[in-house]
């Protein structure tokens, strides 16, 4: 493997322009044609493949959400039938969780950035990396096929006995799709762990790593240790459905709560698979746009690992009212409170990073600020839910729906978009239009809050989730929510349009448009296939920003402008 690539590098004509000294060749123009993309082992190209496929799934999942919000404008069920509504929220959940959120930041930004950030030429296992994308596509097509054939109506959680005795939809086919896609996530995690352990540039010690690497490392641990459990759980559902082996059905000697234990053992940590890489993105961005070193670097790094480990010990908080013992409920409640500590460490440290910084309000920073606020609301309402008494009141209401959308959408998607904006010049070599960027970031923030804040109120007032009809008095809040969703929808479509536009018409970015630290900014944009022409040597801590210097520079340019 190592041999192959050296040979290829030598065969190429010189990639540095002899006249200007600029790098002519990059990973995008190194070679052309479908084969060069579909058989690539370049982590950057694989990241692009993932980017395209998860974007398709994002808009597919979004279109289900549109239908849901349209139905809920009126109290009666009138737009779709009850069964169709069940399928809509199920498929929205499945597509968004398994095919968008879980791969989003690790598979796109992580794949692109992890090797570059640590000064490596590629992942430890480039072919495995490509395999993970193919596995993702196969799983995706399988699930897509099941949806086209007739869909599934169990809810994304596949709770038994809905999924075993009472559903005549395509449970096994959809489950198999998720089973398959899980392996893509395991392979990504495995690749990250080995790459981060083995391929760091000379001098890049663990405490010199960017925090994005730490959080992706923590995420990988969850992927590798958690995902096999959901795979086995889905197999057990298939066994019970297909062969009537009694695992979850009491009539056959099983126990339905067992399903919930197994399911949430993966699916709760899966929430941390979504949020931890998002936190890594935020750490990078907040330092760059405040021009300050991340406050309490080691605490932020270890908080990632802390969240990864404690995240495995809290799954029972999904089962407070479903028949789990009260004693186990108390333990899980306590542990769920504990996980707030590392999360709060991060939020406080990002805020402290901004303190006395030289803050600029570029698009990525707007997303950062949106993230910090929305994640805090999502996290704190999580503490309401971790509290046994409150949970009994709001369990399975819109309060839950609002809470997890604040984490998954307000947290993960805000960070994902912030990260895409921040690294877009590195990925494509071109800038996006800043004005449109700011406008859509603002639109998303407003639209998001208008969509989901009313849902907290609805839930507290007692509107259950997963119902397609509701009492008259809930209509005002539901209409607000649907109106917000349309604003949010526009906010998501705008970046799609201007990112595509920027590929051709965007301003050439140069290697470091943000004047950011980090190895990825020391190579050209877009980077060459080998990432670096010479292996970088790291001699200093990360985030060597100076707010004073930035302020002084700013004052200088202001003065010059006045003089002109």
């Amino acid at each position: 493997m190592e041999m192959d690539r050296t040979v290829v590098a030598e065969e190429r004509p010189t990639i540095i322009d002899t006249v200007t000294g600029a790098i002519r060749e990059n990973y995008l123009n190194a070679n052309y044609g479908l084969k060069s993309w579909f058989l690539t082992v370049d982590h950057k190209r694989i990241a692009i493949l993932y980017l395209i496929s998860i974007t398709l799934f994002f808009f597919l999942g979004g279109s289900f959400a549109v239908m849901i919000r349209l139905e809920l404008i009126t109290p009666q069920g009138d737009l779709v039938q009850a069964e169709t509504y069940n399928k809509l929220f199920t498929m929205h959940g499945i597509v968004m969780v398994f095919f968008f959120l879980i791969p989003s930041i690790p598979a796109v930004l992580g794949n692109f950035l992890v090797p570059i950030m640590i000064g490596a030429r590629d992942m430890a296992f480039p072919r495995l990396n490509l395999a993970s994308w193919y596995i993702y596509v196969v799983g995706g097509l399988f699930t897509l096929g099941a949806m086209i054939a007739g869909g599934i109506d169990t809810g994304w959680t596949f709770y038994t006995p809905y999924s075993t005795s009472f559903s005549n939809t395509y449970v096994i086919a959809t489950g198999l799709g998720i089973f398959v896609v899980g392996f893509s996530s395991i392979l990504t995690g495995l690749n990250f762990i080995v790459t981060i352990h083995k391929m760091r540039a000379p001098g890049l010690t663990w405490f010199r790593l960017p925090l994005f690497i730490w959080s992706n490392y923590a995420t990988s641990i969850i992927m590798v240790l958690g995902t096999p459990v959901i795979a086995v759980t889905i197999l057990l559902v298939a066994l019970e459905r297909g062969l009537h082996i009694g695992i979850f059905d009491p009539a056959l000697g099983g126990d339905p709560i067992l399903f919930q234990h197994l399911f949430w053992f993966y699916s709760h940590p899966a929430v941390y698979i979504m949020i931890l890489p998002a936190m890594g993105v935020i750490s990078e961005l907040v330092a760059c746009f405040s021009r300050r070193r991340v406050f309490g670097y080691k605490f932020v790094a270890f908080a990632s690992l802390g969240i990864a480990v404690i995240g495995f010990l809290v799954w029972g908080h999904h089962m407070f009212v479903s028949g789990q013992s009260s004693y186990a409920g108390m333990i899980f409640s306590f542990l769920s409170f504990i996980v707030a500590i590392p999360s709060a460490i991060k939020v406080f440290n990002w805020t402290a990073t901004m303190y006395k910084g030289s803050i600029s309000y570029d698009t990525p920073m707007l997303y950062v600020m949106g993230f910090i606020g929305l994640f805090t609301i999502g996290g704190l309402t999580g503490l309401f839910l971790a509290c046994l008494g409150v949970d009994i009141h709001v369990h399975d209401t819109y309060f839950i729906v609002a809470h997890f959308h604040y984490i998954m959408v307000g947290g993960t998607i805000m960070a994902y978009l912030g990260g895409i904006h921040f690294w877009w010049p590195k990925i494509t070599g071109r800038m996006y239009p800043e004005g449109w960027g700011k406008f859509s970031a603002l639109l998303i923030f407003v639209g998001f809050n208008l969509t989901f804040f009313p849902q907290f109120l609805l839930g507290y007032l007692g509107m259950p989730r997963r119902y397609y009809a509701y009492p008259q008095e809930f209509q005002v809040l539901n209409v607000m929510s649907s109106a917000g969703a349309s604003v949010l929808g526009v906010g998501y479509l705008l970046p799609l349009v201007y990112f595509l536009w920027s590929l051709r018409y965007g301003r050439i970015a140069g290697s470091n448009p943000w004047k950011a630290t980090g190895l990825e900014w020391q190579t050209s944009s877009p980077p060459p296939t080998e990432n670096f022409l010479a292996t970088p040597v790291v001699t200093e801590e990360p985030y060597q920003y100076s707010p004073e210097e930035t302020e002084a520079e700013y004052a200088m340019t202001k003065k010059e402008n006045v003089n002109v």
Binding site: K198, L225, V229, D255, I257, L258, H261, L262, F265, F312, L313, W315, G316, M319, Q324, S325, S326, Y327, A328, M330, I331, F332
Partner: protein, 103 residues
Amino acid sequence: MIEHSEPHIVPKKTYYIVFATLMILLFVTVAMAFVPLGPFNIYVAMAIAITKAVLVVLYFMHVRYSNRLIWVAAGAGFVWLVILLAFTLADYSSRGWIKVPGK
């Protein structure tokens, strides 16, 4: 760059012995199911199952001849399995410990 420890060559005989042991334990499991031991049947069955799993991990999966990093990785998997089982069983064994009014 990547250090490879010398591949340990395991004689075929070891594999045959391990395989035979696994088969014997399989028959023991089935046989024990017919011996009425009351609540101890499950303990005996689990003890045999754990023994078999350890044999597979150590010999067929080569962990016995691997370096410490592999031991840590394999160990982590087991610790996580223990977390899953311990908390799940804690639920089952503690149902009814705390009386909830009206339940």
